[in-house]
């Protein structure tokens, strides 16, 4: 019996016990003002511009507010902004802040704070960098007004300021926002609905947020990170639990109220517990992937890349990642998030239908592949990447490729994938990862889809056709033009095999029935969430 099997059994037994009506411990009683939440990962640092991990972003939306926020339809809505005005030539944007905004230290939010915050953000964010490249002026006109003057129109301005992809354009006090964007801030003062209690922060174990009494929510209903962010609990404790069985037991026992991402193996057991709700957390899910190194043999040869794509079975990958719950995954003949406006399957035939290993072998033979080693690096401390790596290695062996499987930790993969040297000299041929579906709704914050050679994401794919369609999307005037551009982009990226999509998968979230107001979204939102005693 391995550890994973054992923990399923242990947690499952607990679930059955709870179904049988065993009492909750005293710890969970009478604590309706405190919500205990188990996040997907440890909040190890807390600067949403410096560190772009999802867990940092998710904590940051509690503390820092944004000028705009995406709603559930992925439309940017005003958040800190009261009004905006764009000149007829599309070059000058003037924004007014809504009144009554305050930071947690009691200071008013002023336009100069916004200017400093946007300046820091635009040094790190892909859309921010684009804006910075065409920026003529970003200034505070008065305490409540700021102006952004560009050298060419940027139709995606509001999306840039309201998107959910990290780094989000959070607004901080000027003194903090003046920190070098590549250095970490040390003060966590925002104007969001909760304050971060730094004195109670135990990185790796606990992070605490307290309701900000002076926060003035908008009047509109909350929707994702937009609208009225009304806090109904006084205190939110993030309890970091590295062991999934412990998290499952703590949720069943009432010691925690909400577990962001239960291990899929444990979900059936949690579903049996009458005290718990279990549902899909983020409808935008995730796109599984592996990237091949386009500048080193054998994957510098597009035929070799296509042979792998032709042979891979996304079903194999998805079953390895999320198990046999078919509600959790679907095949993905493309790169964009299913169910979103720009989703397309154009050019996706190579990933559809019965997998043809013989044809793939034939293509591989035609490519001139001569048994060059394929160094496949996998972070085995991340179950999703490890599961995908196992499938890939099996696939490549079936194809007759010479695979060197390097199962290591994420720290090593993270540094090794930056090397451009040949695989035999410390470099790599392929690595596995996944992208949040919310990052894959369009090319704006989707570096993995770019194919601009040296400037591209790891693997350094180069395809003028892909890049041309990225530009087409940015320049598109309406949704139809955007869709057309994305269709062509999808086709070009599959021809280039910019990366290999391994399928689309969802994850569950689980919470105690005493907790109400949990909504679906790419970020767990706490406004509107209440807990009964």
């Amino acid at each position: 019996m391995d550890r994973r099997t054992f923990l399923k059994g242990a947690a499952g037994a607990g679930s059955l016990a709870m179904s049988g009506g065993f009492a909750m411990p005293a710890l969970a009683q009478g604590a309706a003002k405190t919500l205990r939440f188990v996040p997907q990962a440890n909040l190890a640092n807390f600067d949403p511009i410096w560190g772009t991990q999802y867990v940092v972003r998710n904590a940051s939306v509690l503390v820092w507010d944004t000028l705009y926020g995406l709603d559930a339809n992925q439309k940017p809505q005003r958040q800190m902004v009261e009004s905006e005005e764009v000149s007829a030539d599309g070059l000058t944007w003037t924004f007014k802040l809504r009144p009554g905004l305050k930071f947690h230290d009691g200071e008013k939010v002023l336009a100069k704070d916004v200017v400093a915050s946007l300046t820091r953000w635009s040094a790190r964010d892909p859309m921010g960098i684009m804006l910075k490249n065409i920026q003529k002026e970003l200034v505070a006109v008065d305490d409540n007004t700021f102006r952004w003057v560009l050298s060419k129109p940027y139709p995606k301005m509001l999306l840039a300021l309201g998107k959910t992809n990290a780094p989000i354009a959070f607004i901080m006090p000027e003194r903090i926002a003046q920190t070098d964007p590549f250095k970490q801030i040390t003060e966590y003062v925002g104007s969001g609905p909760t304050k971060f209690l730094k004195n109670e922060w135990v990185p790796g174990a606990k992070a605490v947020f307290e309701r900000f009494a002076d926060y003035v929510p908008r009047n509109e209903p909350a929707s994702w990170i937009s609208g009225g962010k009304k806090m109904l609990v006084d205190r939110i404790e993030w309890v970091v639990m590295p062991d999934p069985a412990t998290a499952a037991a703590a949720l069943q026992n009432g010691e925690v109220d909400w577990w962001e991402q239960p291990l899929s193996d444990l979900v059936p057991l949690l579903k049996k517990n009458k005290n718990l709700n279990v549902d899909i957390g983020d409808p935008l899910g995730n796109v599984g992937s592996f990237r091949m190194n386009h500048i080193q043999p054998p994957f510098d040869n597009p035929k070799v890349r296509r042979a792998v794509l032709m042979a891979l079975s996304q079903e194999d990958y998805m079953r390895a990642v999320v198990g046999d719950d078919e509600a959790l995954w679907k095949t993905l003949p493309g790169f964009f998030t299913p169910g979103t406006p720009l989703y397309t399957e154009e050019g996706g035939e190579i990933l559809k239908g019965k997998r043809d290993l013989d044809a793939a072998k034939k293509l591989l033979a035609e490519s001139g592949y001569k048994g060059e080693p394929v160094v496949c690096v996998v972070a085995q401390d991340q179950p999703i990447t490890k599961a995908q790596g196992d499938v890939t290695v099996d696939l490549l062996k079936k194809l007759g490729m010479n695979v060197d499987f390097v199962a290591t930790d994420w720290g090593t993969v993270g540094s090794r994938r930056a090397l451009k040297t040949p695989p035999t000299q410390g470099g790599w041929s392929m690595f596995h990862t996944w992208h949040a579906g919310s990052d894959c709704v369009n090319p704006a914050a989707y570096p993995a889809i770019r194919a601009n050679g040296d400037k591209a994401w790891f693997g350094w794919p180069e395809s003028p056709a892909v890049e041309a369609e990225v530009v087409s999307w940015f320049d598109a005037k309406d949704l139809n033009e955007e869709k057309a551009a994305i269709g062509r982009l999808n086709k070009a990226a599959l021809e280039n095999v910019t990366y290999a999509p391994t399928g689309f998968f969802l994850t569950y979230t689980a919470w105690n029935k005493k907790v109400t107001g949990v909504t679906k979204g790419p970020i767990p939102t706490f406004w509107g969430v209440a807990k009964s005693a």
């Binding site: 607990g14 065993f22 009492a23 909750m24 411990p25 040390t186 037991a249 720290g411």
Partner: protein
């Protein structure tokens, strides 16, 4: 004796310096890059390079080591690359749970294991001996996390006697403090009980065959007096040694136990720091652990002289 203690204490300094150099060198040559972890999955190589430069990780080894050694000599263990918090503060936050866990485990294990070993020796060759030794072998063989899950299921989920996870500081009361520690201490203690019980049995068997034990019995001393007054004291040197060695095992076991019971201790801090390549934290924790080992060895050496007056330095 005082001179010996002073000499031993001073000898820890070069040991610690060597440990520091060794750990620093290992981290320098080990694969992995904290900048890559910090930057996140979507970062570009240029972002990572910039973060590395800001953290000073692109400087030559000797410069980095010299700076670290100088700071350490001034009792400054540096700042965590990830949390931006002082390493001493991070260690300080984690010491109490780990020390509490080790202390409760140690007391629990000694209270159970020493009498077990004594009884097994006394009843050597009988079913009692075999039962105790079977238990000891089981305790040593079953992984800590398995025992942990079984205990959590039985005593937390089924019986609702203890919490599943977490740690309550002792300042909030002995009861709440203990309630969080009972299950982890038992699961961690099982390995330790097995180890101490086996050594106690072996050592007692040797002592019970000595002439002075026979003399004590001949003088009419009761069984308890023979075992616990005469024999146990003379069998204590190996037992004390194994308890000392066991502290090393406890630190290793604490890593797993702290994860299973979500205790925010030094074990978890160490694992997290290693996975993230948080060099200053790793160095700080390793130095602390090294200091504990050296200190435990020193205490054991001193205890020897009290337990066996023939031992002199």
């Amino acid at each position: 004796m005082l001179g010996y203690i002073l000499r031993r204490t001073l000898s820890t300094i070069p040991v610690m310096a060597m440990v520091g150099l060794f750990v620093f060198s290992l981290l320098y040559i080990a694969p992995g890059d904290p900048a890559a972890v910090i930057a996140g999955d979507q970062a570009s190589p240029a972002d990572i390079a910039r973060i590395r430069a800001n953290l000073g990780l692109d400087r030559p080894f000797l410069v980095q080591f010299g700076e670290w050694a100088w700071r350490t000599l001034h009792a400054d263990l540096g700042t965590s690359i990830f949390t931006n918090l002082p390493v001493t503060q991070m260690i300080g936050q984690r010491i109490e749970p780990t020390v509490s866990l080790m202390l409760v485990t140690l007391i629990f294990a000694i209270i159970i294991a020493v009498p077990m070993g004594v009884v097994a020796a006394w009843k050597a060759g009988t079913w009692v001996d075999r039962a105790i030794m079977t238990f000891a072998v089981l305790g040593f063989s079953v992984p800590v996390f398995v025992i942990g899950y079984v205990l959590a299921y039985t005593f937390a989920l089924q019986l609702d006697w203890f919490p599943v996870q977490g740690y309550t500081p002792i300042a909030e009361g002995i009861g709440p403090w203990l309630s969080n520690l009972v299950l982890p201490a038992i699961s961690l203690g099982c390995v330790y009980i097995a180890l101490i019980a086996r050594i106690t049995r072996a050592s007692m068997l040797e002592v019970l065959a000595q002439d002075y034990v026979r003399t004590a019995k001949a003088k009419g001393l009761g069984q308890g007096g023979v075992l616990f007054i005469h024999a146990l004291k003379n069998a204590a040197v190996p037992i004390v040694t194994v308890i000392g060695i066991g502290i090393a095992l406890l630190i290793g076991g604490a890593v797993v136990t702290e994860s299973v019971f979500a205790i925010p201790g030094l074990g978890r801090l160490t694992v997290d720091a290693i996975l993230r390549r948080d060099y200053p934290v790793i160095q700080g924790v390793v130095l602390l652990f090294s200091f504990v080992y050296v200190l435990v060895n020193l205490i054991i050496d001193i205890l020897y002289t009290f337990l066996d007056p023939r031992i002199r330095y």
